[in-house]
């Protein structure tokens, strides 16, 4: 039956819908975060009516309303434009009943699905055009009630628990959190695991936690910088193409702040490179976590350096992580039987 097939496709693609929501949400946090950080320049006591106050307000709006934006565009991903309005409203509702990010995510998916299904209903011609306007109203009402009565309370409890747990972590706990995030961030270079930890880091900004983002910002530059240093230290262990990628990778790491540049380097020697970057990034995560490195603006690359509360800790964690990656990967490559000459010949044949 077509109905079940469509339902199945929608839920099978939950990840895609969720990522679409995140993709539209990121700029909102970015604007909020940058505006808020600039407002800090105005000092601790900001007078009403000053320009810093406006900046601060903009910052707070961005950091508050990224949640409904995410819900709206998760719903949009499921049923296009009719999903946006219900998603916004359900997202704000989810925030008001203290279910935060999780509630908004669930609400966005449910309301998108409900709108999609309601729009499929076939009515007599006379009513059909009106139905296009009314379906989102009904889906919003249905999912809103469902959210408040059924899923709201347990999620609110879970969020409470999560908030208490994460705020009470302290130095040791944050170190462990850093290790986990570092490991996830170091194994797939911007793939699903890395995105899981970076999404988590941005999500907890909703409950005023900035350490995870600090960890995230520190670990993200470690794999490319480490590979760059490694190729610089022992160029003999790398093929010509690999050296070229490695040489430019520091630029990507520092200016753009992304790890994807490591993919071509890892592709030719998957497990050795992955092990090394995972270890180095875990080490960087532990240092950043233990010293409670905070970052309140989700910007990547060179811009983030201005927003850390402890720039020295950031530098330390990146430095130690980078050196670890370089040493481990060169050690592993050194004891392997990778024949660079053969690999280079293959590369030439490819071209």
């Amino acid at each position: 039956m077509k109905f079940w097939e469509e339902t199945k496709t929608i839920f099978k693609n939950t990840g895609l819908h969720f990522r679409t929501g995140v993709s539209y949400m990121l700029p909102v946090i970015l604007i909020g975060g940058v505006a808020g950080s600039v407002a800090v320049l105005g000092g601790t006591e900001i007078a009403d009516g000053s320009i810093w106050k406006i900046f601060k307000d903009i910052g707070e709006i961005g950091l508050k309303y990224f949640v409904p934006v995410m819900a709206a565009y998760t719903a949009y991903s499921i049923c296009d434009t009719p999903g946006i309005a219900p998603g916004f409203i359900v997202g704000i509702l989810a925030q008001q009943i203290d279910t935060g990010y999780l509630g908004a995510l669930l609400g966005g998916i449910l309301v998108g699905y409900a709108t999609y299904m309601l729009l499929k209903v076939r009515l007599p011609d006379m009513l059909q055009s009106t139905w296009g306007f009314m379906a989102p109203v009904f889906s919003t009402l249905i999912i809103g009630v469902f959210l408040v009565y059924v899923v709201g309370p347990p999620i609110a409890m879970l969020m409470d628990f999560l908030t208490d747990f994460l705020t009470g972590l302290g130095e040791g706990g944050s170190g462990i959190l850093g290790a986990v995030m570092g490991f996830l961030g170091g194994i797939d270079y911007g793939g699903p695991f890395s995105k899981t930890q970076s999404t988590f880091a941005t999500a907890v900004m909703d409950i005023d936690l900035f350490v995870p983002l600090g960890i995230c910002g520190a670990i993200v530059v470690v794999p490319p910088l480490g590979m760059c240093l490694a190729a610089f230290l022992k160029p003999k262990l790398y093929t010509k193409t690999e050296k070229e990628y490695a040489k430019s990778s520091w630029l990507y790491a520092i200016i753009g702040g992304f790890t994807e540049i490591v993919i071509p380097l890892a592709a030719g020697d998957l497990w050795r490179v992955t092990v090394a970057t995972a270890i180095g990034s875990t080490v960087a995560g532990i240092i950043a976590g233990y010293f409670l490195l905070e970052l309140s603006t989700p910007v990547l690359g060179v811009a983030q350096w201005f927003f850390y509360d402890k720039p020295l800790i950031f530098a330390l964690s990146v430095l130690v992580g980078t050196i670890t990656v370089a040493l481990v990967v060169n050690l592993l490559k050194g004891i392997s039987d990778r024949d660079i000459a053969v690999l280079e010949r293959e590369e030439e044949e490819m071209e």
Binding site: S23, L26, G256
Partner: protein
């Protein structure tokens, strides 16, 4: 063969561009014509023109997030893959695209 390629990733800075580059290279190697649209959060996308879409024999969508304006390609043979797959196995994707036409 004429290919229209749309790539979309989470932030629109890295994966979409790299997947586009990988597939472009593979297509050129096989002598196919390819035109590309990269979508993402942080830039103005260069849209495929209606003529380019009409002329395309096959459409490849390499996506990590929802592609804006997917209905533009209705009725065309569409190959729907993830960005990561396109990035790592461009050869396989191109094989599949060629198969789609047979």
């Amino acid at each position: 063969m004429k290919i229209a390629l749309v790539t979309a990733c989470l932030a629109g800075v890295a994966h979409s561009k790299m997947a586009a580059m990988a597939l472009k290279k593979e297509a050129k190697k096989r002598g196919h014509e390819i035109c590309v649209e990269e979508q993402g959060g942080h830039k103005l996308p260069v849209k495929l023109s209606q003529e380019q879409i009409d002329a395309a024999d096959v459409v490849i969508l390499a996506k990590m997030v929802k592609i804006a304006g997917e209905n533009r390609f209705e009725g065309k043979p569409i190959l729907d893959v993830s960005v990561n797959k396109a990035l790592r196995h461009p050869v396989m994707i191109m094989d599949k695209a060629e198969e789609l036409l047979k």
